[in-house]
């Protein structure tokens, strides 16, 4: 009966009346401190990681300063490094990946949670989880030998013929490039969305659905207008996971993106992403400035993740004032 209202998670121990000692005796305070330690260690590890990156990129930071962000050149021979093309590539491929993976993932999770009988749903879930376990090298190799020819011979010409007036679909179609990398990434991140969203949808209390149906909505309406909004924070959480995965993916992207540090509006164009450049060049990088410039790219990716996460959170906060569901993401 209480389900129509917003559920607010408990925030802290029961206020006031129990003394510290009694809480300690009952184990609550110990539990609180122990779990706090573990939660804090997450922040500690992240902070340590950022610190290490900062310290290990001192040479290029002093040499280039802020111009690192806007230089378009990446020249290991003449020691001139700039991150702009890679920032662009990372953002574009992740955007394409999410545009493809989010509808696909949410659609599939709705099917698995709402429509499929329990056994089918569980079985399919095992298999979809496996998609997350496929090594990215295999995604890369399959990408080169199957996705790229497909894109070059069928998909990209079709897009060019139908939507070629848009700046996104201009230029020669080699098969490798932003679009292909986005497609491969979409396949790689879709299991995270499906897996988590399905669980969250399954945990929506039955009475929500039934109330909607009782009021005369169709199956789809009850799902889309009641159940999904109820689970919105969980679903959005899964999209965060997918985004993070897309931003940091190295191997598979590096094999299909074309590796030319170009900035172009066309999705057919080859490009490069931060993670892919680091993965491609780090093992063979010789020379301190070069190696450290690659590490500075890692730092730039952190900054990018920071900003994108922040923007996404703002978006969530502003749109979740209305509607039901838990209040934090």
């Amino acid at each position: 009966m209480s389900t129509a209202t917003t559920i607010v998670p408990s925030a802290g121990p029961v206020a006031g009346s129990r003394s510290f000692l009694s809480r300690l005796r009952e184990g609550d305070e110990i539990a609180r401190m122990i779990t706090f330690l573990f939660a804090a260690s997450v922040v500690f590890i992240t902070a340590l990681l950022v610190y290490e990156l900062w310290v290990s990129s001192v040479l290029p930071r002093h040499k280039f300063g802020l111009s690192f962000f806007i230089t378009r050149v990446w020249d290991p021979v003449f020691d001139n490094f700039g991150a702009l093309p890679f920032i662009y590539g990372t953002v574009v491929t992740s955007a394409v990946a999410l545009c493809l993976a989010v509808p696909l993932g949410i659609g599939a999770s709705i099917f698995l949670a709402e429509l499929a009988p329990a056994r089918l749903s569980d079985t399919l879930e095992f298999f979809i989880d496996l998609l997350a376990a496929v090594p990215s090298v295999i995604y890369g190799v399959l990408g080169i030998f199957i996705v790229v020819p497909l894109m070059r011979q069928f998909v990209e010409p079709a897009l060019k013929n139908s939507l070629g007036f848009l700046p996104f679909f201009k230029g020669p179609a080699y098969g490798i490039g932003f679009l292909t990398a986005g497609v491969v990434l979409a396949i790689m991140v879709v299991p995270y969305i499906i897996s988590v969203s399905r669980e969250v949808l399954l945990s929506v209390p039955r009475d929500q659905r039934e109330a909607a149906l009782a009021l005369g909505s169709t199956r789809w309406e009850s799902t889309w207008k009641v159940v999904v909004p109820f689970a919105r924070t969980g679903i959005l959480g899964s999209i965060f996971l997918a985004l993070a995965r897309a931003l940091g993916e190295t191997m598979a992207v590096s094999m299909v993106i074309g590796n030319a540090p170009t900035i172009s509006a066309s999705l057919f164009s080859p490009g490069d992403s931060i993670a892919s450049v680091i993965a491609n060049q780090f093992t063979e990088a010789t020379g301190d400035l070069y190696t450290q410039a690659l590490i500075e790219l890692g730092l730039v990716l952190f900054l990018l993740t920071f900003i994108l996460n922040g923007l996404a959170r703002i978006l969530i906060v502003t749109t979740s004032q209305r509607g039901s569901g838990q209040g934090n993401a």
Partner: protein, 342 residues
Amino acid sequence: MKRIVGIVLAVLGFAGIVWADSTLSLTGAGATFPYPMYSKWFSEYHKKDPNIQINYQSIGSGGGIRQVTEGTVDFGASDGPMTDEQLKAYQDKHGFPVLHFPTVLGGVVPTYNIPGVSAELKFTPEALAGIYLGKITKWNDPAITGPNSGVNLPGEEIVVIHRSDGSGTTYIWADYLSKVSLEWKSKVGTSTSVNWPVGLGGKGNEGVSGLVKQTPDSIGYVELIYAIQNKMPYGSVKNSSGAFIKADLASVTAAAAGAAKNMPADFRVSITEAPGKTAYPISSFTWLLIPSKFSDAGKRDAVKGFVKWMLADGQNYTEALSYAKLPKEVVTKEIRALNEVR
């Protein structure tokens, strides 16, 4: 719950048991190019002397140089010689120098895919440099058609393909282009990864060859071994004596023999554009990076023993894997240099 904890502890304990054994274990890491060769060699050496286990992993030449300098591996390997700064860094850190020992030779070949053209193309240095600089853009450019008079080359745009990942192969290719083209040297230069004026990138030899096979009117460069093992068509290149040489094991070894006379004592030399009528111009050594002092006498003797074996019997295994063997002149020099490892 207790059951699970018990099982986990048992597995941990079991897996954590350290077998007491008398084998001497060495770890080396570095270049990817010679990885198949080294794994064959270390395996054969282990059969010869089962007490010695040498574990070599390919993490890249840069990685090899870094790890041997850090001291996390017993020896390193690199497709490109260490620079003076890197040598100095090693010396400063350890107090003694690190030595280079060439092991095998490899070559880089131009491969292409032009619909309708099945003949073997002849490339001049100017043609290759021009293509990769983006100056020569069509297949029927005079620089390309010149030496290929019997071939009907189309007027299509050339799709240039290069390596996306840093690699010794790129180093050799760029080193060659720097030697034959002043413009390349001043604009692009030599490194495991360069700022390519034009082209698409493929990852690894696999990526480049995959792209070349799928993209009409394309050209790319791959390791000779890769071309041989995968039966890929590739063109011949004009060497410093004016002959068009199609790369094979003999012509690569000839390049090293040609360069052997003027080789520096520390073996850090580039043998692209080597003198010699039969020399293939885009060839290179690959080196083992061995510290000149070992604190563990057992390890030192194992390493020295291996290098001696490698220079003698080891060279007989190279051909089967499509690596070119070292010329006699270089082998003799190395045996002498081995005495410096103490």
